[in-house]
């Protein structure tokens, strides 16, 4: 039927050769892999900083870091993990690769812009890394004023780096919105796109609407540092809480930029490994949009103890609990999908089930923090640290790992080593709980976050937590080995090794340069298992 016969051995990986063909490629699949390599590298870096933090906290008193060095290590761990790993993570790697494939498109709407956003991202990342040699930053990733204005470190360069990376995030989001609206294959209605695409679409809306506010806030910090305008400086009639409002107006939606795509991955994996039509497609799809919408009205819960008015506190407390509704809708629909499914426990599914377990804990402790009365006690303690790591690591990173194992056969046409991959899950899942569950207890006991030291009463739980971090470290290093050896020497994968129903599995593995031999025509929903 096609005028040119397709050679099945030619695919997007080998059609063009040479390193230059990667750095100039407009192919969304190759750009996804560019992001994958860079983000894996930054993840390694941020992970090393995390291990250093835990090592320093192994015992009370100074171990091998000075308090100043500890503040820097903590700042780099946060900034790298947020701006360079979790925010871009799933959309830029898996989204770039699979959004066009799942909706039956040949590419994203603006391929050149897509490549440009990788270059913008890398520029921002390199600027951020340059601060390591230009006077290190110790503000924490949140850049709270007035300290961020007064610190003598390279904070100006760091905020400009975050500004540049934000621009990349905006461009990716913009590209995905237009792709979803305009490039769906014939018959692929909005109510037939896979739930991963719904999640990416909701995320993209947040990226486009929230990031510009962060951009101007960061610019104002730079201006403030250069000229002392005083907008955020109480000594000059300014208001430091205003900074927190501006900052969290972006950064709370950003939390959902981090978790929504993960929820999308989980929807795909659970449907595929239950071999069952997903329960409540419409509810899951619209709850993504619901979370995105509510996320713009909850930022004030970061300022419960910052001197915000009590009425504002009460309103934000209520609105924050509202997020629990669409989130619970998703959880129950996933559970209902599992019910009477034909479940098998390959590693992607293990990570997805791990996600359900850990995200449930992260979500419920989130409600505890949303309640004003309890938050006054928990605020700025390790309880909060444990809570958001349960969501960001237990949620998002579990989904990243599950998603990568799920899609490796499609991305590289090769299978990974299943038993080793299951072993990585065991290490990461157990290590994660050993690391972070004690922190809930520490927080409830009153151990404050961000400090480089603690009283001896907290020692045993901190020791357990540090040992857990080693397990996580082993788990992720092992994962890296599993992924690399799959790419280098894995067994050949068929087009659809999991028997999944979404469109990306209907083309060959790895896909050809233009994704599909002939433009797919869609006649049914994404999860029509019989």
């Amino acid at each position: 039927m096609a005028s040119t016969t397709h050679n099945p051995d030619v695919n997007y990986l080998n059609e063009f050769k040479g390193i230059g063909s990667w750095f100039t490629s407009l192919d969304h699949k190759r750009i996804g892999l560019l992001y994958m390599v860079s983000i894996f590298f930054f993840f390694l870096l941020g992970g090393i900083f995390a291990l250093l933090i835990r090592l320093e906290l192994f015992s009370p008193g100074a171990q091998f870091l000075t308090p100043d060095q500890y503040n820097q290590v903590m700042t780099y761990h946060g900034a790298i993990m947020v701006f360079m790993v979790i925010v871009p993570g799933i959309p830029a790697i898996l989204g770039n690769f699979f959004l066009p494939l799942q909706i039956g498109a040949k590419d994203v709407a603006f391929p050149r812009l897509n490549l440009a956003s990788w270059y913008v991202f890398m520029t921002g990342a390199l600027i951020a890394m340059s601060t390591l040699f230009l006077g290190k930053v110790d503000t924490g990733w949140t850049f709270y004023t007035p300290y961020s204005i007064k610190t003598g470190t390279a904070a100006t360069i760091m905020v400009l780096a975050a500004f540049v990376m934000g621009m990349s995030s905006i461009l990716t989001g913009l590209n995905f919105i237009v792709t979803t609206h305009k490039l769906r294959a014939p018959g692929m209605t909005m109510h037939r796109i896979p739930l991963f695409c719904w999640a990416l679409y909701s995320t993209a809306i947040l990226q486009v609407l929230a990031t510009p506010v962060l951009a101007i806030t960061l610019l104002l910090i730079a201006v403030e540092r250069a000229t002392g305008v005083g907008i955020f400086d109480p000594a000059l009639g300014g208001d430091p809480v205003l900074f927190q409002h501006f900052f969290w107006f972006y950064s709370h939606p950003a939390v959902y930029i981090m978790i929504l795509p993960a929820m999308g991955v989980v929807s795909e994996v659970i449907a595929a490994f239950s071999r069952k039509t997903i329960f409540g497609y419409t509810a899951i799809a619209y709850s993504s949009l619901g979370i995105a919408a509510v996320s713009f009205f909850v930022w004030g819960h970061h300022m419960f103890v910052s001197g915000q008015s009590e009425i504002a506190g009460v309103v934000f407390s209520f609105l924050t609990m509202l997020v629990g509704v669409p989130t619970a809708i998703k959880m129950f629909n996933w559970l209902a999908t599992l019910y009477k499914g034909n479940i098998s426990f390959e590693s992607p599914m293990l990570f997805a089930l791990g996600f359900l377990f850990l995200f449930a804990i992260g979500g419920v402790t989130g409600i505890m923090l949303a309640v004003l009365a309890t938050d006054v006690h928990f605020h700025d303690t390790y309880f909060v640290v444990a809570h958001f790591h349960y969501v960001m690591v237990g949620g998002t990173l579990m989904a990243v790992m599950g998603g990568i194992y799920y899609w490796i056969p499609k991305m590289f046409g090769r299978m990974y080593n299943e038993s080793l991959a299951r072993l990585t899950f065991i290490f990461i899942f157990i290590g994660f709980n050993v690391t972070f569950f004690p922190q809930f207890v520490l927080g409830a006991m009153g151990m404050p976050r961000r400090y480089f030291d603690y009283i001896p009463a907290y020692e045993s739980l901190n020791k357990i937590s540090t040992m857990g971090s080693w397990l996580i470290g082993i788990g992720f290093f092992l994962s890296l080995y599993v992924i690399i050896s799959a790419i280098r020497s894995g067994a050949k994968a068929s087009a659809n090794p999991w028997g999944a129903k979404t469109l990306e599995w209907q083309t060959s593995s790895p896909p050809p340069h233009f994704n599909f031999e002939t433009e797919p025509v869609v006649t049914a929903g994404p999860y029509e298992y019989k």
């Binding site: 498109a105 040949k106 590419d107 709407a109 603006f110 391929p111 812009l113 905006i170 913009l174 590209n175 919105i177 237009v178 609206h181 305009k182 490039l183 486009v208 609407l209 990031t211 510009p212 506010v213 951009a215 101007i216 806030t217 610019l219 104002l220 201006v223 403030e224 000229t227 002392g228 305008v229 005083g230 907008i231 000059l236 009639g237 300014g238 208001d239 205003l242 501006f246 233009f514």
Partner: protein, 219 residues
């Protein structure tokens, strides 16, 4: 469907679009989304302005009294004219009159330049009188009644500076459009870049329409 030809009709359609209209719609949606981000970015400054204006109305009035509303009005007029010529250039391209479009694009650029020159005069007079943001404000020269007058000039320079940067970027883009128009790359079937930059230019103009009364006339 040729992807490299510069001829009208059918040319310029990237491989992943069905046809020229499909590409035009997608491009335009992308541009509008980008405009949303621009407005939100300026939005942060407008919110900051609103909060501090309500806290220190007299300080803001003192700051505004040092600005010359005649210069501001003239600049408003110049930008409105430029928006008109920008819109006309698209109108001409749609009718196939690319020579007229070329002229209109250049008039737009010249208007942008006039705006920037007037802005430069205003800035240099502020510099001379020590009316600068934050601690750069020269208290000896200004005899400021309000100690934090530097905050007003912080807003003034941030808002007009960010806006001016957008005008410069817009001028660059319009020059690029004019060159491509001269080469005959645009016509009734393909003028998406002109339409896109046009939308950008109108938004930049619109932001000035809000900046002018807020900074020059309030108080």
């Amino acid at each position: 469907m040729s992807t490299n030809s510069h001829s009208h009709g059918g040319g310029h359609v990237a491989h992943h679009f069905r046809d020229a209209e499909h590409q035009f719609d997608s491009g335009k949606q992308g541009i509008w989304l980008f405009m949303v981000t621009e407005i939100l970015m300026f939005g942060g400054l407008f919110v900051g302005y609103a909060i501090f204006h309500s806290l220190y109305p007299k300080m803001f009035a003192e700051g505004a009294s040092h600005l010359d509303w005649r210069m501001g009005s003239l600049n408003t007029l110049v930008l409105i004219v430029s928006s008109y010529t920008m819109a006309m250039s698209i109108h001409h391209l749609q009718k196939g009159e690319s020579n007229k479009a070329f002229t209109k694009l250049w008039i737009t650029v010249v208007c942008g330049a006039i705006f920037m020159v007037i802005k430069a005069f205003e800035y240099s007079s502020k510099f001379q009188h020590g009316l600068l943001p934050g601690h750069l404000l020269d208290v000896a020269k200004t005899h400021a009644e309000h100690a934090n007058l530097g905050m007003y000039y912080g807003f003034y320079f941030c808002m007009t500076g960010l806006h001016g940067l957008h005008v410069l970027i817009g001028m660059g883009l319009i020059i690029w459009l004019a060159i491509r128009t001269k080469r005959g790359e645009f016509g009734p079937d393909y003028f998406l870049p002109v339409e896109g930059v046009g939308i950008f230019w109108h938004i930049v103009d619109l932001i000035w329409i809000f900046l002018f009364p807020l900074l020059y006339l309030v108080g």
